[in-house]
């Protein structure tokens, strides 16, 4: 289960995601991130309060990154915990996504 909140900060649209991005929550995560990148030129997914992610959650992020490419929007994954970052790394997604240690704004 995830909770999503959004705010605009210094030119970035920040989508903060809290909770567990598992297979049950993946559609909600993808929907929130896709809606953001399709409507805003610079989107930061703030994962500081994301406790867990599985491949279903990774796929949601990947789909949002693809949608951002199509919409020519900038999309960054920010502040993942060490455990969540490890799942991105094990999957090779650090090669294809912009992952920042902290928010760019």
């Amino acid at each position: 289960m995830i909770q999503v909140t959004q705010e605009t900060r210094s030119g970035w649209y920040v989508v903060a995601v809290r909770g567990r991005a598992d297979a049950e929550a993946a559609d909600e995560l993808e929907g929130a991130l896709r809606a953001a990148v399709e409507a805003h030129p610079k989107v930061a997914a703030d994962f500081a309060a994301l406790d867990y992610i599985s491949s279903a959650g990774l796929r949601a992020v990947l789909q949002a990154a693809r949608a951002a490419q199509t919409a020519k929007a900038e999309f960054a994954v920010c502040s993942p915990s060490a455990r969540v970052k490890k799942v991105f790394d094990m999957s090779g997604l650090h090669h294809v996504l912009q992952i920042y240690g902290e928010l760019p704004c």
């Binding site: 049950e24 990774l58 796929r59 999957s91 090669h95």
Partner: protein, 143 residues
């Protein structure tokens, strides 16, 4: 006393073929690891590997909607946790499934394939066998 210790060092649970069971999977792992593996990374990794196997058999193995679709057994042994994951889905050997291309650029990446890759990264000593209508996967996570 010995009897109690033996019970605490293992856990078994049964899941129905529905993704809402992920909550119970996570709660069962947390309960087991609270006693057996004080390092929280083990609970995280165990949860990840078992979610991938469970979701795979529900989504692709035909277990969607099936009662008692998955049996899981965890046992603390030596310097790790032994895990047995049994499901009544169609025959699927995660040990020999092909690896996804992790170096592919964004537009060339196929969704899928990552789950089993994560299981193989996290777990050691994976063995698979088909036994009647069951897939039986045994593996170990080091502590």
């Amino acid at each position: 006393m010995w009897h109690n210790r033996a019970i605490l060092s293992e856990a078994t649970f049964i899941l129905n073929g529905n993704l809402t069971e992920l909550h119970r999977l996570s709660a069962e792992i947390a309960r087991f690891c609270q006693d057996q593996c004080p390092d929280n990374d083990v609970a995280f990794d165990l949860n990840l590997a078992l979610e991938e196997l469970f979701t795979n058999t529900v989504r692709h193995g035909g277990c969607e909607g099936m009662a008692d679709a998955v049996h899981i057994r965890l046992e603390r042994a030596g310097n790790g946790v032994l895990v047995e994951f049994c499901d009544r889905g169609s025959a699927f050997d995660p040990v020999s499934a092909p690896e996804p291309d992790l170096e592919a650029p964004l537009e060339g990446r196929r969704p899928g394939g990552l789950g089993i890759h994560l299981v193989r990264k996290i777990m050691s000593d994976l063995h698979y066998r088909r036994s009647g209508e069951w897939n039986r996967i045994t593996m170990r996570i080091p502590i």
